[in-house]
């Protein structure tokens, strides 16, 4: 069985069951079940999540991209500080970047004040953080490969030759 295809299927729809996946990959149900378990155990599959449109759910959320410049540390380079920043639950993602700054940090909070407070009091004050530049998100158009308001429904005729 092709593991890449299995992962692609699950990445696109985590609800697919081994019974549904098995025929698609020309594999047995047990084989698929074992493969998924193995991928979960070795942390290839990290988590099954749901992509939520929070705006639609009526929840106010504020998120910001923070450009962080760091002083790399002896032995660990950027990793030590990056891991430390990861620990904050307010931080949704942390990526090391090439270019004008080092870390792209996505932070989420319930209000502008909460996010700015976090940046000012927690993030910017970490030793080794040289500077932060905060960009608040105004609107999300596409996330994780999904266009938020797509408007592209199935417009085909119901029966065609």
């Amino acid at each position: 069985m092709n593991k890449t295809e299995l992962l692609e299927l699950l990445e696109n729809d985590a609800r697919l069951t081994p019974e549904e996946i098995a025929p698609m990959l020309g594999a047995g149900v047990e084989e698929v079940r074992r493969a998924i378990k193995e991928l979960e155990e070795n942390k290839t599959i990290l988590k099954y999540i749901t992509l939520v449109n929070w705006e639609k759910a009526g929840e106010e959320k504020v998120s910001a991209l923070i450009e962080v410049r760091l002083t790399p540390q002896r032995d660990v380079g950027f990793d030590g500080l990056a891991r430390r920043i990861c620990r904050f639950p307010e931080v949704r993602s942390v990526r090391l970047m090439s270019g004008a700054y080092d870390l792209a940090v996505f932070v989420e909070g319930r209000s502008l004040r909460e996010v700015s407070n976090f940046v000012a009091t927690k993030l910017a004050t970490i030793e080794g953080v040289v500077s932060t530049t905060t960009h608040f998100v105004l609107k999300t158009y596409k996330q994780d490969g999904v266009i938020i308001e797509d408007g592209e429904e199935d417009r085909r005729l119901m029966v065609t030759p």
Binding site: L9, D13, R15, E20, R156, M158, V159, T160
Partner: protein, 408 residues
């Protein structure tokens, strides 16, 4: 005394039966909440880079006629593509014509070849247009029924037996709509021997060539001695999810393409430039997107075939296109009765097999160009309906029986 419109009609048109799909379409349109597996086109929307290239062409003002034959750049890209894929070399200046879908290519080829009384061999079940187009040209359709035992492939003996002194053309369409059958190279070679021995011509509709899931597609024109007696028809609709753009192409002998072009220049002038620009982009940069779609179809194909077999229906393994063609005789219903019962009882639309010719009776066409979610739900409903008709499931398939839980 004045004649009615009906009386005034050209007798060829007056006697042309409406498509079997039409009647069923009306039934489906009246029903709410239907999951349709009756659609003969991709569920994907045209890849964005193609749409974007088309928008750009409009911004740049490409809104004029093209030459009758189509944009030379597009014909050159088609020639390159055929050379790379099949080792087939057509002169883009003389041997390729850009048409408004394969439908128009078919019409032009038939009109340019077939006169009153000429016989055209048409395999069945097959796409609904072949026979009417031949009839409209004044030709006589000789259906060649294929069977599930023969995996819906023509046999050379069958072709040979149907040939008369008036036989002029053999139509081939593999991968096939509605059966999903493909033609293996060996049998195709045998058929071509018959074609050559009787000096026939072939019109080969290969619109589904890219959607071949097992083995490699053999292009009829690439076989020894066949390029000179084949009109190759293909297009962008299925492989690049571009049905609504209506762009196809015909490749053949220069003299014959010139004849087709003569009809085309008076009746169509040229294919729309906007769609031709999009087709050009599809050939230049569409390969990756196409491969993604083919992979996706293949997974659904395997799922659907297994589901039908699990629920107790015999289902021939389709190796091309995006249709499964399960046999529904075990339910005791005719194709039409089955399709209607399924629509009324479970709100799933499939197309009765006999819409594609008499030999399609006992089968229904299920398109798997539908989202996996819809497919699974539709299969579950079909399983329920089939079971009520007393068909014993082959296995109690885990995904066909229980309702799919939201949490998975």
């Amino acid at each position: 005394m004045t004649s009615t419109w009906h009386e005034r009609l050209n007798p060829l048109v007056r006697n042309l039966p409406p498509s079997g799909i039409r009647r069923f379409f009306d039934l489906v349109a009246e029903t709410k909440g239907v999951i349709s597996l009756g659609v003969g086109e991709p569920d994907f929307v045209t890849p964005w880079h193609i749409r974007e290239a088309c928008i750009y062409s409009l911004e740049k003002g490409y809104t004029m006629y093209t030459s009758n034959s189509g944009l030379l750049e597009l014909r050159q890209a088609i020639a390159r593509h055929l050379a790379e894929t099949y080792g087939l070399f057509y002169d883009p200046k003389k041997e390729i014509l850009v048409t408004v879908g394969v439908s128009q290519g078919l019409d032009l080829a038939v009109r340019a070849l077939v006169g009153p009384g000429d016989e055209v061999l048409v395999p069945e079940p097959s796409y609904v247009s072949y026979a009417p187009v031949v009839t409209l040209a004044g030709g006589r359709v000789v259906p060649l029924p294929t069977t599930v035992e023969e995996e819906f492939r023509l046999s050379p003996q069958q072709v040979e037996a149907a040939i008369t002194p008036r036989t002029k053309v053999l139509i081939l369409s593999y991968p096939n709509n509605p059966t999903g059958a493909v033609m293996d190279r060996r049998r195709l070679l045998e058929i071509c021997e018959v074609v050559k021995a009787h000096d026939l011509l072939v019109i080969s509709d290969e619109i589904y060539d890219k959607l071949t899931y097992e083995g490699e597609h053999t292009c009829v024109a690439s076989l020894p001695g066949m390029k000179e007696r084949t009109v190759l028809l293909n297009g962008f609709s299925k492989s690049y999810a571009m049905t609504g753009w209506r762009i196809g192409f015909a490749c053949s002998n220069a003299e014959f393409i010139a004849a087709m072009t003569r009809i085309h220049q008076y009746t169509m002038l040229c294919a729309p430039i906007t769609a031709q620009m999009a087709a050009l982009e599809a050939l230049r940069n569409g390969h990756a997107a196409m491969e993604r779609m083919v992979r996706e179809y293949n997974r659904r194909r395997l799922l659907v075939v297994q589901a039908f077999r699990d629920m107790g229906l015999a289902c021939f393994e389709p190796k091309g296109a995006f249709y499964a063609f399960p046999e529904i005789r075990a339910t005791g219903l005719s194709s039409e009765a089955f399709a209607e019962a399924l629509l009324y009882e479970e709100k799933v639309a499939v197309v009765p097999g006999n819409a594609f010719g008499a030999s399609g009776e006992g089968f229904v066409r299920c398109s798997y160009a539908a989202s996996t979610d819809d497919l699974i739900e539709a299969l579950r409903r079909i399983a329920r309906m089939v079971r009520r008709r007393g068909v014993r499931p082959r296995v109690i398939s885990a995904f066909l029986s229980p309702a799919r839980s939201a949490a998975g």
